[in-house]
Amino acid sequence: MATIQIKVNGENRTISGIDPKTPLLWALRDHLGLVGTKFGCGKGLCGACTVHFNGTAIRSCSTAVSAVESRSITTIEGLAEDADHLHPLQEAWIEHDVPQCGYCQAGQMMNAAALLSTNPKPSDEDIDNAMIGNICRCGTYTRIRKAIHSAAGNGGNA
């Protein structure tokens, strides 16, 4: 058991009494109470658990919490600048009514946000390549694609 410090959504957090091998996903959900990041497969196959690690999209179910010690993590709860200023992707997701069940969408948006941060105007092919790792069981892919394009047109490169 260890005490681990991570920076989550700009805030320094200390987790004590944790097995350092605990996946970041469960550290976020069970230890920090940030349940927006979702558990889907536990093997990095579905992308529901996607978060940002120093700005890069990673699968938190397959990343030990010790591997991100002292580093900066952004989760869906921290994607918006603040409560009044949603990320362009979040606005686009609402406007295009992307979610059905909505379970995968946090991971989809975190992955899309990482895409837009390096490629503010992605082509269809760029979106295909970037989003292939995120499963939507309800099949909202056409709307996801539309919403990413829409957010990009919005200057969605935050």
Binding site: K38, F39, G42, D97, C101, Y103, I132
Partner: protein, 765 residues
């Protein structure tokens, strides 16, 4: 006698858990149970003031006489009431959404119906999930695409009643007749002088008005709708995109512990022994114990519970757990064994379950006979949110926090498996991360309740993906040895299906979604039809999977009709339309009876918008398929490009729909788009196999789901008809597979007989 096929008025895909359909005769649902939107069962309608001024409209359906008495019992009245509509003095409106939300959009569109009739602007409406209470809300469930047809009239009545009383209150104030007033977006307007009063100002006075007789209510004319049919976004979208807790798995309770429940890989194996002492020593583990279970279908399977502080510690302990299973009574079933058995059994004549005309005569007189053998696999629901549930047993009461599709079934089951009373079970409805029929069965609720009953703390149980896939209630697989006959003119004269019907070992009825009938063919013009069915008892658990029965046989039959059209050297569209015959409404002309006019019209529309008959390039193909299920009429045209390596690119899918009218353009189209993608996902490479009673697939690496790059262009055409609106969770699914395999045939000349298409060497790109 050809119409005899439809005398049952039965589209077997509407089967539902007994608890929620009411009467079940055998395994068939009765007609009255499916579409009872009459108000005969409505018990009372009541208004009461609320603190701070305002109006609460309570509206109860399906109440038992006992509940009615309770409500009329004086003091308790107010406390027992629950409201669909609450109008506050500032004019804001709260509308309760009664049914579970699992991604079908019901939490948005049922309140929309109320808001439309109430005549309020949607922006002044906030929606809350109602409590789970049969006495107050009648049936609350999410299944069978039934939320729309069952609630269409009651929701309109809820809105129209409140509107009528608000108008009456204004008329009283102004000293005019109600007929001199009209409602307009949150106001009542005096037609003679243009004066108005807001709903907020009228709410308290409205509460004192006489509740109108439902028969006297005037619903709005469809042409006057301001909200229904519009693109309305989901009421929970903001919470979803900002990661706020909504789902079952997000539930946290004070002092909550996390559990796993480990079951025998071979269905219904029992625990002989386990290394519990060792497991209890592991970090974070609080307790580990054996649960006997009752081995009843859909209830509590035998297993080992591990309770730990965190989910990860529970998962880790699960890996260290070693169980010696007693598999004497466990399933030994094998998918490969069933495949072999089916081939042998259907090679020879079997027991005739249905016959119209004489198939023997059709064969004797045939100009051409076509024989084909179709196979489709078992499937998992693969909800992206694995099954999970929280339970808290305290002071003799069991609180359940469940992302379920059937909340009202839980208390009864728990009272059977635990020493608690049904009345002591309280259900909190949480959002489900996908339903697709999996969460109609509450086996996972039984597990967490059994664990919580032993532990003095709230418990959340989470299944790993591997547990979820191994312990699903699967879509049943199937085999069809088909024979079709043509006369000299190329008319379809006979159809025969030699098939296996898997039956539930417990009751001898076809398994859920496994009731295969001649009516599934949906070709009322064929004069000679014979169904030969071998009943095979099955232990592997089967459940309702999106568009039960239709989801599998829709592909088989719509593909075979194309095969027959091809054998007759006729155009598929013209051949399919011929099978519908004259435009007419069959049977008793209820929503459940096949209406060939609607079938013809959606088929013609899909063909037109799908460029039917237009020439395509080499390597490209176009396919057509129709299906009527869950009260909806759908025809789909798929266009594909296939390369020499059998890589299939689905370029476009055109969907023509008739569900009466579309209630929410956004939510409705999302369901259709999702059904198309789910259809492709399923037919690409999904297959659940089992050997020695144990499922062989475990996660998304060996049970793949479709990914974004493969999603095709989807074009949806809505045919608006005067029929009452019906649901969209399921009916767009069944026609998809045949539209695609027929298109692949058009492109390549290769007929796909076995699902998924990966079995035949094809893949989607």
């Amino acid at each position: 006698m050809k119409n005899e096929l439809y005398k049952y008025d039965l589209i077997p895909d509407v089967d539902m858990p007994a608890e929620f359909v009411g009467k079940i005769e055998g395994y068939e649902t009765t007609e009255t149970d499916i579409l009872d939107t009459s108000m005969a069962r409505r018990q009372f309608l009541k208004l009461t003031g609320i603190a701070g001024g305002g109006l609460v409209l309570a509206f109860s359906m399906g109440s038992s006489p006992r509940a009615q008495a309770a409500h009329h019992g004086g003091k308790k009245e107010t406390a027992d009431l629950n409201a669909y509509v609450q109008i506050k003095s500032d004019g804001s409106v709260v509308i309760a959404a009664k049914n579970p939300e699992v991604g079908q959009g019901v939490k948005t569109f049922l309140p929309m119906i109320i808001a439309e009739e109430l005549e309020v602007p949607w922006k002044s409406v906030s929606v809350v999930q109602s409590e789970i209470d049969q006495k107050r809300y009648g049936r609350q469930s999410a299944g069978g695409s039934q939320s729309t047809p069952r609630n269409w009239t009651p929701m309109r009545e809820a809105g129209a009643t409140a509107r009528t009383m608000l108008i009456a209150a204004a008329a009283e104030k102004w000293g005019v007749n109600a007929s001199d007033c009209m409602a307009d977006q949150g106001y009542v307007v005096n037609k003679s002088n243009g004066k108005n009063l807001s709903y907020g100002d009228l709410a308290s006075a409205a509460a004192k008005q006489t509740v109108p007789d439902p028969k006297s209510l005037k619903f709005k004319d469809r042409k006057d709708y301001k909200l229904l049919g519009k693109f309305v976004t989901g009421v929970d979208n903001h919470k979803l995109v900002t990661g706020q807790p909504l789902f079952g798995i997000d539930q946290r309770l004070p002092g909550m512990l996390n559990a796993v429940y480990v079951k025998c890989p071979s269905f219904y194996g029992k625990v002989k022994s386990a290394n519990l002492d060792e497991v209890k020593q592991l970090p974070g583990v609080i307790d580990a114990f054996v649960i006997q279970g009752n081995s009843t279908d859909g209830e509590l399977k035998p297993g080992v519970a591990i309770v730990a502080k965190t989910t990860y510690e529970a998962f880790k302990a699960e890996k260290a757990l070693q169980v010696s299973w007693n598999i004497a009574d466990a399933s030994k079933e094998s998918w490969s064994g069933f495949k072999k058995m089916a081939k042998e059994l259907t090679a020879n004549p079997g027991p005739v379950s249905e016959e119209i005309g004489s198939m023997d005569d059709a064969i004797t007189g045939a100009y051409k006979v076509v024989d084909s053998y179709y196979t489709y696999p078992f499937l998992s629901h693969a909800n992206l949110e694995p099954q999970n549930c929280a339970a808290w047993f305290r002071n003799g009461k069991m609180e359940i926090y469940a992302p379920t599709q059937t909340p009202q079934g839980i208390a009864g089951i728990l009272a059977r498996i635990l020493p608690i009373k049904a009345d002591d079970v309280e259900i909190k409805q949480l959002r489900g991360g996908g339903g697709f029929g999996r969460r109609l069965i509450n086996d996972w609720v039984c597990e967490v309740a059994a664990i919580a009953h032993k532990i003095n703390a709230p418990i959340k149980m989470t299944w790993t993906r591997e547990t979820d896939m191994a312990h699903d209630f699967f879509r049943v697989g199937g085999f069809h040895n088909l024979k079709g006959t043509l006369d000299k003119k190329g008319k379809l004269t006979g159809f025969q299906d030699r098939t296996l019907v898997f039956t539930n070992k417990a009751n001898g009825h076809p398994v859920r979604g496994g009731n295969i009938r001649a009516a599934n063919l949906q070709c009322p013009e064929i004069p000679n039809v014979r169904m030969e069915t071998h009943e095979i008892p099955l232990t592997t658990p089967c459940g309702w999977w999106r568009a039960p029965t239709s989801c599998s046989v829709g592909w088989v039959f719509q593909s075979f009709i194309h095969e027959m059209a091809t054998a007759a050297d006729r155009d598929h569209l013209e051949f399919l339309l011929e099978q519908f015959g004259e435009p007419r409404w069959m049977g008793n002309q209820t929503a459940r009876d096949f209406n060939t006019e609607r079938a013809i019209n959606v088929t013609k529309l899909a063909a037109e918008k799908g460029d039917w008959g237009k020439k395509m390039k080499s390597g490209q193909g176009r396919g057509l398929s129709f299906y009527f299920s869950h009260l909806g009429y759908f025809t789909e045209v798929a266009e594909v490009t296939v390369d020499s390596l059998n890589n299939v690119k689905v370029d476009r899918v055109v969907v023509a729909c008739d569900v009466g009218m579309l209630l929410n353009k956004s939510g409705g189209e999302n369901q259709v788009e999702g059904s198309v993608i789910d259809g492709l996902s399923t037919m690409a490479a999904q297959e659940i196999t089992f050997e020695n009673g144990a499922v062989q697939e475990s996660n998304f690496d060996n049970y793949p789901l479709l990914r974004l790059p493969v999603a095709p262009k989807i074009e949806i055409q809505w045919l608006t008809t005067d029929h009452s609106p019906t649901g969209l969770g399921e009916p767009a699914f069944p026609p998809l597979a045949a539209a695609v395999t027929n298109a692949i045939f058009d492109a390549t000349g290769k007929r796909i007989y076995t699902m998924p298409i990966s079995k035949e060497g094809f893949s989607f790109v």
